[in-house]
């Protein structure tokens, strides 16, 4: 308990305190500057890119990753496809990998000289074509998003499968007997049936998105030219590396506030749901 207090709780409070100073981490916190750190932050283009990228992860996770995970869950979570257990194991495995390892493997796959995009482009165009997605500031973050989807797809699939297994078989069968098509069964029986799973997976995916670091770091440390910076890589690059502890704490506070506000919304939503039920 003391450990938790010391290592987790106190630092969070300290982050809030330091965020109003321009401080290098040496000696007592000094140079009080009020909200100056936050003003600097929001007038820094790189910070805005980081914020925008982070929000992009949220949007892509919800709009692309979760539906894909749902489709996979439908495919291998309803005891209708032979070999489901094997498939599930394969789909889930990327989640168990170290994020840093994930990033490095994909760095090879994206390699401009012999990576997959280059190989495919050469194959289809008939002449040697080099495609370096990670080196191109306009394409790099898209490439990062693909990796993020790949890594966490299986995790969300498992959450949906847990939800699917709570739907009584009879309910689906009854709908089919009543003449519902597969699409109608999914729309009117399955989706309402796994509502909670959907809410939880969306929630975790948003909180996770705010904290993406390792994968991005391995793929390019926020570069090229800061185009793949996220809030946490920004925190590391501009707070930790430069010993700008006050400023870095300010970034941490922004992450904290995002998580906290989102948390509150979630709690309120869930509480209201339960009261209605």
């Amino acid at each position: 308990m003391i450990l938790f207090l010391l290592i987790v709780v106190i630092p969070v409070i300290q982050a809030g305190y330091y965020s109003v100073f321009a401080w290098n981490g040496m000696g007592p916190a000094k140079n009080f500057r009020g909200l100056g750190n936050f003003v600097d932050m929001f007038s820094d283009d790189i910070f805005l890119t980081a914020l925008f990228n982070t929000l992009e992860v949220v949007v892509v996770s919800i709009l692309i990753q979760l539906p894909l995970a749902f489709l996979l869950a439908l495919l291998v979570g309803r005891r209708r496809t032979p070999g489901e257990v094997v498939f599930r194991s394969i789909y889930f495995f990327p989640y168990v990998l170290a994020e840093i390892v994930t990033g490095i493997i994909w760095k090879f796959i994206y390699h401009p000289r012999f990576g997959l995009p280059t190989v495919l482009a050469t194959l289809f165009s008939g002449h040697p074509t080099e495609i370096g997605l990670l080196g191109d500031p306009n394409a790099a973050f898209g490439a990062v998003l693909v990796v993020i989807i790949w890594k966490y797809l299986g995790f969300h699939m498992i959450i949906y499968i847990a939800g699917l297994q709570g739907i009584p078989r009879e309910l689906e069968d009854a709908a089919v007997v009543d003449g519902a098509s597969s699409a109608q069964v999914v729309r009117h029986v399955i989706i309402p049936g796994i509502r909670n799973s959907i809410i939880i997976s969306a929630f975790l995916s948003v909180i996770g998105s705010f904290n993406i670091f390792d994968v991005v770091w391995a793929l390019g440390q926020g570069g090229p030219v800061h185009s793949t910076e996220t809030l946490v890589t920004y925190l590391y690059n501009f707070g930790f590396k430069r010993f700008a502890f006050g400023y870095g704490s300010g970034v941490a506070v922004v992450i904290f506030v995002l998580c906290f506000v989102f948390n509150l919304l979630y709690q309120r939503y869930i509480v209201r749901e339960r009261e209605n039920a």
């Binding site: 938790f4 070999g83 170290a98 796959i109 847990a162 391995a218 925190l235 704490s249």
Partner: protein
């Protein structure tokens, strides 16, 4: 039985999605998702030249050169490996002791503010370590354990506590109160009860927590990155990241490194998958 027969019937009635078609779709998804891992797995057995000329084909000729180099002539790999093992072991031990003690208190003792304290810990599930990383650095510096493996262990254990407490408390709550009463009648207190009764019956939960803590520690990058500065103390993720910077062309070496570092986790995954999936999604599915 009824469930099985209706499952079979359901599969046939599925219309568009016959079992064969579904298996095909599943296989295609599996190939796509497994492709990066396959690339890495075969990559370690290729020469560097072949990796460049034929990055995604099967190794030809098959060579153990990279593995031999890695395991034989480089002490660095073993140093990373050793550090990762020590840190994982320390983290697991500390996490188990602290989280079980806290979970016993939170689920078996009546005291003021119990719910509040429990919720307080659960909040830790939702606030990730990135928020606390800078002050944590200062904290560890203040404690004088910055740059040491103990610092990493302490930090990793603290951040794995919320989930572990959550899992243990959920399990302990369902242990019949009669058992505790029986121990009390025999003159034993809560500690006797915890050590003699709770620990032995919670073997599966201990396994789950041990494995997920191990995976988290093994994979953790940001914490050791800020705490450790001496290369001799680097863990595998730090090491592989560093290699990747140094040997810009030595992909055979990097991939062999990754393959070996994945071995322990892959073995756990194959043989204890139930525990892993249960543990890693525990925070989620119970929500």
């Amino acid at each position: 039985m009824r469930r099985i027969s209706s499952a079979v019937a359901g599969g046939e009635k599925g219309g568009k999605g016959g079992p064969l078609l579904r298996t095909l779709a599943g296989t295609i998804a599996a190939i796509v998702l497994f492709f990066p891992l396959y690339t890495n797995l075969v990559g370690g057995f290729k020469t560097n030249g072949q990796l460049i000329s034929d990055p995604f084909g099967l190794p030809h000729p098959f060579t153990l050169h990279a593995f031999a180099l890695l395991l034989g002539s480089s002490d660095q790999f073993w140093s990373f490996f050793y550090n990762s093992v020590i840190i994982a072991a320390g983290t697991i031990l500390l996490t188990l002791v602290c989280s079980m003690a806290a979970a016993v208190a939170l689920s078996r003792l009546q005291f003021r503010g119990r719910t509040l304290l429990f919720n307080f810990f659960i909040m830790g599930l939702l606030f990730p370590l990135t928020v606390a990383i800078l002050p944590l650095y200062l904290q560890l510096r203040g404690l004088g354990i910055l740059g040491s493996r103990a610092g990493v262990i302490l930090a990793e254990a603290a951040f794995s506590l919320p989930l572990s407490i959550f899992i243990f408390a959920g399990f302990f709550r369902d242990v019949p109160w009669e058992l505790q009463d029986a121990v009390q009648i025999d003159g034993g207190g809560i500690i006797t009860f915890a050590v003699r009764v709770m620990v032995p019956i919670s073997a599966p939960v201990i396994t789950t927590v041990t494995i997920i803590t191990m995976i988290m520690s093994w994979n953790q990058f940001l914490l050791p990155l800020i705490v450790l500065s001496d290369q001799a103390k680097f863990t595998i993720p730090l090491g592989v990241m560093q290699f990747q910077g140094q040997f810009t062309t030595g992909w055979d070496y990097i991939m062999a490194f990754i393959t070996i570092s994945l071995l322990p986790i892959t073995l756990f995954y194959i043989f204890l998958q139930k525990y892993i999936v249960a543990g890693l999604t525990a925070g989620a599915t119970k929500g």
